[in-house]
């Protein structure tokens, strides 16, 4: 073997291993190892799959197309994969929920808009395309989330929302430590997150400093949504209304008279103009018909 041949072989090897490598890790996202084995606490059945299908059609089909139909939105880069494909089905449930929670590239995160329960339902629907799939349920007991007491309060002095997470265990009330808390304000579409998600401290508390310029309704009311996520206790959320927004009393865009509004709310000038034109025509018509009558009745 000449050096040249050796060299060529080496290049061939490089290319070969590159191709193998690329095909193995063509995804540009990766779930952390501790998330890969996460399983659903909801048992997948026909009912969850049916609910998941509706969620899929409303949230995913616009990009991914219908499973197995090869009608994904081809203008995106990368093209959203067909989720019924073997490649996608080889992902673990943990990986699936990870990408739904975190998004990847053009794929948005659905953590806040759907939430974990609905995400599992979509996954339940997707697993229906995989004959070999056998569900492994999470050891997590959903009944435990019933024990959680999630209380929020507003602290005027520091202008912040303080969240207190406790659980009514058999042996008394305990603070939930290290749970992930996120706080949102509800708006017309979706939720607006306040700060980042925080972990509860040793006494089960998390403190979110609240912006002073959020527009509320007439009374400055804002609906605040607090979400807890904990390995042990699952997902819990509570909403509460606080008068901590800036009072705003703007009429809706369609409440005043406007060009784009309904007929009864047409601008007066346009009603005036249109009516003037129409009435002038009717007057002319009356005048002409009267003249014709005059001609008809005229005596020689």
């Amino acid at each position: 073997m000449t050096t040249n041949q050796k060299y060529n072989q080496f290049i061939a090897f490089l290319i070969f291993s590159f191709v193998i490598n690329a095909s193995l890790s063509s995804r540009n996202w990766k779930a952390p190892d501790d998330q890969k084995d996460k399983n659903s606490y909801i048992k997948f059945d026909a009912s969850t799959a049916a609910q998941g299908e509706a969620i899929y059609n409303a949230n995913c089909a616009s990009c991914h197309g219908n499973p197995g139909k090869n009608n994904a939105l081809k203008s995106l880069n990368p093209i959203p994969p067909d989720l019924s494909s073997t490649a996608s089905q080889s992902l673990t449930d943990g990986e699936l929920i990870y990408i739904l929670n975190n998004g990847a590239g053009l794929m948005p995160s659905f953590k806040n808009s759907l939430g974990e329960e609905k995400e599992w339902m979509v996954i339940s629907y997707l697993r229906g395309f995989n004959k070999n799939y056998i569900q492994e349920l999470s050891k997590f007991d959903p009944a435990k989330s019933k024990l959680v007491k999630l209380v929020s309060s507003f602290d005027k002095a520091s202008n912040s929302i303080i969240v207190n997470a406790t659980a009514d265990e058999k042996n008394g009330k305990i603070a939930i430590v290290g749970a992930e808390i996120s706080v949102f304000v509800k708006r017309y579409f979706g939720n607006f997150q306040i700060e980042k998600a925080l972990k509860t401290d040793a006494s089960g508390l998390a403190k979110f400093s609240f912006p002073t310029d959020l527009p509320g309704n007439k009374n400055g009311d804002l609906e605040v949504l607090v979400k807890l996520y904990d390995e042990n206790y699952g997902e819990v959320q509570v909403t509460k209304t606080y008068s901590i927004g800036v009072p705003t009393d703007k009429p809706g865009l369609n409440e005043d008279r406007a060009i784009w509004n309904t007929l009864v709310k047409a601008p007066l000038w346009i009603i005036g103009l249109y009516a003037t034109g129409l009435i002038s025509f009717l007057l002319l018509l009356a005048f002409l018909l009267n003249n014709l009558r005059g001609i008809f009745n005229s005596k020689v």
């Binding site: 018509l285 005229s298 020689v300």
Partner: protein, 436 residues
Amino acid sequence: MLDKKTSDQIVADLTSHIKLSMGFKVWMAFLSVSLLVCLYAYFLQLRDGMIVTGLGDYVSWGMYLANFVFFVATSLIGMLISAVLSLLNQKWAAPLARIAEIIALAFAAVAGLVIIMDMGHPERLLNVFIHGRIQSPIVWDVTVVTIYVLISALFLYIPLLPDLKICSEKLTNIPPFARKIYTLLSLNWSGTTEQKNLIKKSTGALSIFIIPVALAIHTVTSWLFANTSRAGWDSTIFGPYFVIGAFVAGTAAVVVAMFVFRKAFNLEEYITDFHFDKIGKLLVLVSLLYLYFNINEYMVPAYKMKHADAFHIQTLFTGSYAPLFWATQILGLILPIILLILKPMRKPLPLLIISIFVILGAWFKRYIIVVPTMEHPFLPVQNVPINFKVYSPTLIEIGVTIAPMIMAVLIITILSKVIPVIPIHETLEHRNEQEK
């Protein structure tokens, strides 16, 4: 020339075409058969839906809307010749007034139909009346087109009263029931001073009122385009630009009608070379104005070359629409202007040929205004088949486009067979005045 004729001769000349001649029957048969063929195309469109046309998500207006604009445009001539010229005391135009009104009525009445034929669900026209909002230009358009049709009909009918009486008295060779209808329609006309005054007042009011209405119908039609912000439509001069363009198309249409009526009805002594010369000059005048508007309409965006406008202008000037664009501008506007400045070109035959080019140019100009803009939407065009992006009309669509043209010609043919196309009463009065 006319003063050598007796009144009876004039009446005989001007009513001689009111009879069912062989030529008329053959012509009507031809028109009816062609119309049936085109209506079959419309039937296919109704049965199978708009899929049989070349229209799609992007070019949703296409040929039909170009046709609509053309019809509204041509109908404006009634206002120019019968109202404006008579208010300006242009006596030469008086014998042409009725021809202009017949064209106006026919084209305005059919314009409404063109819009309905553009709809996949024609019955949904009712929604305009049920859910229409007066903020919408569509509602204004429906309103003004309807008003213009009514006014044009009255403008044709009221000055016609004396002539209807003459018809009922002098037409001895028509069936008695037809004479009855003439008598009925003439509303007891006997030429009293009171009656003459009432006609004068009515036509006076109509001549004035029809001007804003006619301006309104074509300005509103232009607003259907100009009230959006799309390249090629987003223009502040679209109203007057359309109106002047309308005068060009309408004047040319009157020339064709004059020529045909003169030949077919032996009206050489009533529609003379003098009239052709005059209307030829009118055509130059309105064409020059239209040229001016064209220069302004293309110059301003072409100078600024804003992104979307630049794309549009390039398509027209050097791109895929360039052949059609330059053909309409040169053959339909610039050459006619140059030729019509020469007196020999304003003789009947050359003027007829030039006018036919002007009419063709006018139709394709509307096409150029409607279609290229729709092919360039602002939002990116993604994942669509090529026939969505590039519009090409189908055969069925062409048939549905020709149908209204035949209908308009049919209406004009029938009207010209039942009423005198040259106003008899006025011709007589004019002659009597000259004798005095």
